[in-house]
């Protein structure tokens, strides 16, 4: 039946143009590219023709789970979406986006490790996948529906327990930041993969399965998971925001797991919130940046209140728009344009972010491309080009590639990392293809958080353990030893997107439970497991691979280099592109850190740091491209050969 533990063994290939489905063997990729984002990168390298546009028939929507998806490994029920992203600027390019929820695990229970969607359907279509079978179904009754009603329809049709990913009106109208939505608040947001679905006239994928994910070392996985979950539970009980009892009784608010096998309850599900803009009852999950729609000081200069905030957040999800792009990019940019008198109104509607009704109008205009919404549907950078206004404000909000700021200490107000923590964020931004913080929060987020309660002395000691030197964390050495943590965080990011695991939980480094605040867990049968070894141990327990820690880490490096190779082959990526993020970081930071004053990036120091980064990666510091020997050493000899004289 199944030859490899952790896998169902097959990837479904769906050609929408010809209405043909076929099967590909997962084992072709599994051992070398981990899973998820890693396997998707290899498929993209092999299949995506040069110069493909996000809306082209040839573009692929590559949906991949990992070996841990569907197992009891903590927070592993995730799934990654890859392909040419329409949101990328100035040109759509290959990148990734991931979501939690329960679609990924259900896909595996249905017998598939992933789906490659190619072609374009002639008429609106949805896929119905159940136990080793895929069917093309007409979606004429679904096209035009919002994401909640699309899912309700499909669950009613295919039965309880059916999991759905779909696109909303925003995706149908090719809004460049349309999301792939599942449930009320799980979404692959960045990149605009909802618009890729829209362009392919693929309204939804519904899946239901009854199969099992085989596990190599069942007992070991159980013990590891139980131990990690106990640790998470302690941390959660200590620190996380609990639901306000008033909200529980008034709006039936409940904390719920946001993905299969997650022991946290980060999201709050509201059962019945009265609608302010639209009469009726709002029922939705709220998590991550969704509460920001409510606004309120000190972070936001709008305040629409809790209930309308929940309603606007739900409306955004129903339309299938990306929360993050709105709250951290487009809306602050519109606010700045309005403040500077560059934009008076929205097709006659006064711009007023204090008004829930204005938000609803704005979102509707964008999702349906009405009036000015047609320009705003192109996202900030392209809207700025088309309207010819607000370039300065735009540059202060969008670091690069068409994505808004994210955990980098600059941009709009809710961006908490301070100097020198964001120096590492800057390195991550410089060498990525999107905002790196879908799975790269680790360094910036952990240190910002833990430095409130743990001394820099102790944090630096953990830094030495993780990155090789105290300087990696010590604020006294802001531009020293920062390439190492950046690379380490990028590799962690690859692992989290590939295994997959949740970025809010892993890597699990810091705790209040030990003397030195570093995580060490006593796992029955395995002994003391260090925080930085947990991903490896989970991978080994599920797959049973005979792989050393070093080989496991090298897989992450292989994937990162392969993604760079795609950038080089398709877009001529070079050092000059990487340096494009510098101006954003040269503006003053948002919050004051240990230095006691508002800092900004020192260009000369950063260029030196970039040299160090390239050298450590085995990349040519002049071009920012991997050296041939490096790719060969990583087992990417065929990739090096194809790149020919693009690399040295």
């Amino acid at each position: 039946m199944v030859s490899q533990y952790g896998w169902m063994g097959k990837i479904l290939r769906v050609d929408l143009t010809r209405r043909l489905a076929s099967i590909m063997d997962t084992s072709r990729y599994a051992s070398k590219y981990i899973g998820g984002r890693g396997i998707a990168a290899r498929i993209a390298w092999e299949e995506l023709p040069a110069g493909t546009d996000g809306y082209a028939t040839e573009n692929r929507l590559i949906i991949m789970t990992g070996p841990l998806t569907g197992t009891v490994a903590p927070s592993s029920g995730r799934v990654v979406f890859c392909g040419i992203a329409p949101q990328a600027y100035p040109r759509p390019w290959y990148t990734r986006s991931n979501m939690g929820g329960f679609f990924g695990s259900e896909l595996k229970y249905a017998g598939f490790d992933g789906i490659i969607v190619v072609g374009k359907a002639g008429t609106p279509t949805y896929l119905w996948i159940s136990d080793d079978e895929a069917q093309f179904r007409d979606a004429d009754k679904l096209w035009g529906r919002d994401t909640f009603s699309t899912q309700a329809y499909l669950v009613k049709k295919h039965g309880d327990g059916t999991q759905v990913v779909c696109t909303g009106p925003a995706g149908e109208h090719l809004v460049r930041y349309a999301v792939v939505q599942s449930g009320t608040e799980h979404a692959a947001g960045q990149g605009g993969f909802g618009a890729v679905m829209g362009s392919k006239r693929l309204k939804a994928i519904a899946v239901r399965g009854s199969q099992a994910v085989p596990v190599a070392r069942a007992e070991e996985l159980m013990r590891l998971s139980n131990t990690v979950n106990k640790q998470l539970h302690k941390a959660f009980a200590e620190g996380a925001a609990h639901v306000d009892p008033a909200l529980v009784s008034r709006y039936s608010a409940r904390q719920r797991a946001c993905t299969q096998a997650c022991a946290m309850g980060c999201g709050i599900v509201y059962g019945n919130v009265p609608g302010t803009v639209n009469p009726g009852i709002v029922q939705t999950r709220v998590q991550c940046c969704a509460p920001l729609f409510s606004g309120a000081a000190p972070f936001y200069d709008w305040n629409i209140g809790v209930e309308p905030g929940i309603e606007v957040s739900a409306l955004t999800n129903q339309l299938g728009l990306n929360h993050w792009s709105l709250v951290f990019g487009l809306v602050p940019w519109l606010r700045e344009c309005h403040r500077r008198g560059l934009l008076k109104d929205l097709d006659g509607t006064p711009i007023d972010f204090h008004s829930p009704a204005f938000w609803a109008t704005l979102l509707r205009k964008i999702a349906y491309r009405e009036g000015l919404g047609d320009k705003l549907a192109e996202d900030g950078p392209r809207a700025c080009d088309a309207l010819g206004i607000g370039k300065e404000a735009l540059d202060s909000l969008y670091p690069a590639y068409g994505f808004g700021g994210h955990w980098d200490g600059h941009g709009d107000k809710v961006n908490p990392p301070f100097f020198p923590i964001w120096v590492v964020s800057a390195l991550q931004w410089a060498t990525d293809t999107r905002d790196p913080f879908s799975s790269g929060h680790d360094y910036a987020s952990n240190l910002t958080h833990w430095s409130r309660t743990v001394s820099w002395e102790k944090l630096s000691a953990i830094g030495e353990r993780l990155y090789g030197s105290r300087k990696s964390v010590d604020p006294a050495t802001p531009y020293e030893w920062k390439a190492q943590p950046a690379i380490e965080t990028q590799h962690e990011s690859v692992l989290k997107d590939s295994l997959p695991l949740c970025d809010s939980i892993f890597p699990l480094y810091y705790t209040t439970q030990t003397e030195d605040n570093y995580v060490r867990l006593e796992v029955p049968g395995l002994g003391l497991v260090e925080g930085k070894d947990l991903e490896y141990q989970l991978y080994i327990a599920v797959t049973g691979h005979d792989m050393t820690r070093a080989e496991f880490r090298a897989s992450a490096e292989r994937v990162f280099n392969l993604e760079r190779a795609i950038q080089i082959r398709e877009y001529g990526r070079s050092r000059a592109d990487d340096e494009g993020i510098i101006p954003y970081f040269e503006t003053a930071e948002t919050f004051i850190g240990p230095s006691g004053r508002l800092e900004s990036l020192d260009r000369a120091q950063f260029l030196r740091l970039l040299n160090e980064y390239y050298a450590l990666r085995g990349w040519d510091p002049r071009t920012g491209r991997p050296m041939r020997e490096k790719l060969e050493a990583l087992g990417l000899g065929d990739v090096a050969a194809q790149l020919g004289n693009l690399i040295s």
Partner: protein, 154 residues
Amino acid sequence: MAAFSAPAKSGFVLPDVDRCRGCAICALACSLQHEGACSPQLARLYVQRSLLTEEPRLAMCLQCDWPSCYFACPVEAIIIDEKTGARVILQDSCTGCAICAKACAANTRGEIIRFNPASGKYFKCDLCLGRVEGPACVEACPWGALRYVSAVQR
């Protein structure tokens, strides 16, 4: 077949749906324990979240004092575990006739005595038989939503 007198009382796992967060860790731990693989459909307990409301629903065998399944089985494939009192379907003896599944009044949805299409047999909660740490689901639930009640306590 034994006379129709009540068998020894059993312990059971008591679910508290108010504490449940819908993570399905219990079901995955259960199938891992029994099948060496992770699958909610092969779990001896049932957990289901509604996709949009996210309300979880839990169902599991309460190991009745008067177990209709036990009495109904025509081939005596259901036995009483000596240690816990659990009503256990012996997989080797089960013929897949479904009589136990129909006899159970709580099993109208087929979520308590479940069918494994691969083996053609029925299965249900066996309280993990001799597992030293007790039932795997109780140990794994991070929220204390599952509690083991012993035969003496019930």
